[in-house]
């Protein structure tokens, strides 16, 4: 028995989650008293395997199939390796691609699945911690099964850094290409546009708390007054109120300004992924339990429609009527 962890790469590079999943996998394997095996599928598998050879990894299986991610190849390869190794735990990244194969693999192997784990406690049963209701509560789940699948959230475990001495083995998966009904044709970069929010020293960032497009001039005025750049959480962009290049987060831009003022933003994990590297984070939010306060340095628990006009006036500006 073992822990089998699936790694991830894109456009020739291993993604950070691949090194985080080594740490998570090693911890779990230690608690279970088992080996940690990795699998890397597609692309420059030999080069990747060298990079993935970190302390605590027992064996790295390479599956030389395809250049980029294709869920059909991943699914078949993981299923076959799973059959061969018979692991206790299957760990996968809760990334966009992880979301695209993990549920299918778990369903087809009949493994109970818990997604988006933020902590694991190995044993029988294994205990998985996750967040619910937009991060307002944490829950724990016991999985009482001999074999199970868990996907892990990115940036929750440190990356494994030290070099290791894992065995590297090529795994010949027998891929039925005719059974794959999805063809990946390439990638497209989104964004560009008027400003580069990643260059800004100060970001005034607005979220759904702004309620209406008509209220945007209020935060625009604040940004002007501060000489800051305006950015936003996803719903503002989804609504078409600001262009895509202003979106901060997992699927938007990763920013590292000196000061990030999050106004009416709850701090969902996908948003935080884009701004947690800011030097100083200031939150203005009516909800004292909003997850943004977990990472904020300073906060004002109050209505933005009261605070923002006052702030503009503090600097001698005039708040627009909204």
């Amino acid at each position: 028995m073992s822990v089998l962890a699936v790694t991830e790469h894109r456009r020739g590079e291993l993604r950070d989650i691949s090194f985080e999943i080594i740490t998570a996998g090693r911890e779990l394997a230690d608690e279970l008293g088992e080996d940690l095996n990795l699998v890397v599928i597609g692309g420059d598998v030999d080069g990747f395997a060298e990079d993935l050879n970190r302390d605590g990894v027992d064996t790295i299986y390479t599956v030389n199939e395809g250049e980029e991610f294709n869920h059909g190849i991943y699914k078949q390869a993981i299923e076959q390796l799973h059959a061969e190794l018979d692991p206790t735990a299957l760990l996968t990244p809760n990334s966009v691609n992880g979301l695209d194969y993990t549920p299918a693999v778990a369903e087809s192997l009949d493994l109970p699945l818990v997604t988006d784990a933020v902590a694991l406690e190995g044993g029988q049963p294994v205990e998985v911690t996750r967040e619910q209701y937009g991060g307002k509560v944490e829950t724990t789940y016991d999985v009482d099964a001999d074999q199970y699948a868990i996907s892990i959230r990115s940036a929750e475990w440190p990356t494994a850094e030290d070099a290791g001495d894992a065995a590297i083995e090529s795994f010949e998966a027998d891929i039925d290409h005719d059974a794959i009904g999805a063809t990946v044709n390439g990638f497209e970069e989104v964004g560009g546009g008027d400003v580069d929010i990643t260059e800004a020293d100060v970001l005034v960032s607005i979220g759904r708390g702004i309620e209406e497009e008509e209220n945007l001039p209020l935060v625009e005025s604040l940004a002007d007054t501060l000489g800051a750049t305006l950015s936003s959480s996803r719903p503002i962009v989804d609504n078409g109120w600001l262009p895509k290049n202003r979106q901060v987060g997992q699927s938007g831009k990763v920013v590292e300004p000196d000061v990030y003022i999050a106004i009416g933003i709850s701090g969902a994990v996908q948003h935080v992924a884009g701004m947690k590297g800011a030097d100083t984070i200031i939150a203005i939010n009516t909800d004292p339990n909003a997850p943004i306060y977990d990472i904020a340095d300073y906060g004002i628990v109050d209505d933005l429609f009261d605070v923002v006009p006052q702030l503009i006036e503090e600097f001698g500006g005039e708040a627009p009527d909204v």
């Binding site: 691609n97 937009g134 099964a145 989804d238 078409g240 009516t286 209505d303």
Partner: protein
């Protein structure tokens, strides 16, 4: 052509809330159509408006209360709705991914849709897994986190963009029948018109039990058990400025001046 859309009524937590046992107290919850499903419904309705002879059917696992949400989807243009519920679902501690997938797949087998649209995730549980699990059960093709969809009905191909991390999209052709999980921003969900709301009252909303869809109570059995729910200890040590808006704005302004963000 028939499109099945999975629709969930999700619980939203009020700012002040209480936990009762292993869940949030009902008094602290409000219910609404899952944000991601709203986009899935809109996408299906837009397809039905662009092509002839498209029927849009929604499927929901939920108690009677969920009908308000289901009617909202009907008001936005879905043709009819199916809601699955019975005592054994009601009594289950929670429904894991496999249980939900099994129930939805059972409905899909009855309905025989050409494809299924589902939200990427539900705002409350955030499993992000049901749609793809349903695809596997039905032996459908699938695509997760779709933020652009171009359907070629004659060729039986959905050309999609999958929204990856970091502002990169993957361009993928997916053979139908397929399940696509829909990301927010793919379209602009409409508001239900008054006329739509009136019409929705007359649209069929079938309530089915597990038995009706060919399953039994064992489908809610799970090897996964919720053991605890709690408010996470704040990892942060944010300094909270307190007082009137004038006071707090003043503190923040001083801070920004000290930081050199603004002069004077």
């Amino acid at each position: 052509m028939k499109i099945l859309v999975t629709v969930k009524e999700v619980a939203e937590v009020e700012d002040e809330f209480e936990i009762s046992g292993l869940d949030i107290a009902d008094s602290s919850l409000e219910y609404d159509l899952n944000e991601w499903d709203d986009y899935a419904v809109e996408e299906a309705v837009q397809i039905s408006e662009e092509h002839d002879d498209v029927e849009v059917v929604t499927v929901t696992i939920g108690p009677e209360r969920a009908e308000e949400t289901v009617r909202m989807a009907l008001a936005k243009g879905a043709d009819r709705a199916i809601r699955v519920w019975d005592d054994s679902i009601e009594d289950a501690q929670f429904l894991d991914v496999d249980t939900k997938a099994e129930i939805i797949a059972a409905v899909a087998e009855e309905e025989d849709p050409d494809f299924i649209l589902s939200g990427v995730q539900a705002g409350d549980d955030a499993n992000g897994a049901t749609g793809v699990a349903v695809a596997e059960r039905l032996d459908f093709e699938w695509g997760a986190v779709v933020n652009a969809l171009d359907l070629d009905v004659d060729e039986g191909v959905a050309s999609v963009h999958r929204e990856l991390e970091g502002g990169v999209e993957e361009l993928t052709d997916i053979e139908i029948p397929a399940v696509l999980t829909i990301q927010t921003g793919i379209n602009e969900p409409r508001y239900a018109s008054l006329r739509g709301i009136r019409q929705a009252q007359r649209k069929p909303l079938d309530v089915q039990t597990l038995d009706d869809v060919g399953l039994d109570a064992s489908v809610v059995d799970s090897e996964i058990e919720r053991t605890d729910m709690y408010e996470p200890e704040s990892e942060g040590d944010a300094t909270l400025w307190e007082g009137s808006a004038e006071d707090t704005a003043n503190e923040l302004a001083d801070f920004l001046r000290d930081k050199g963000v603004v002069e004077g």
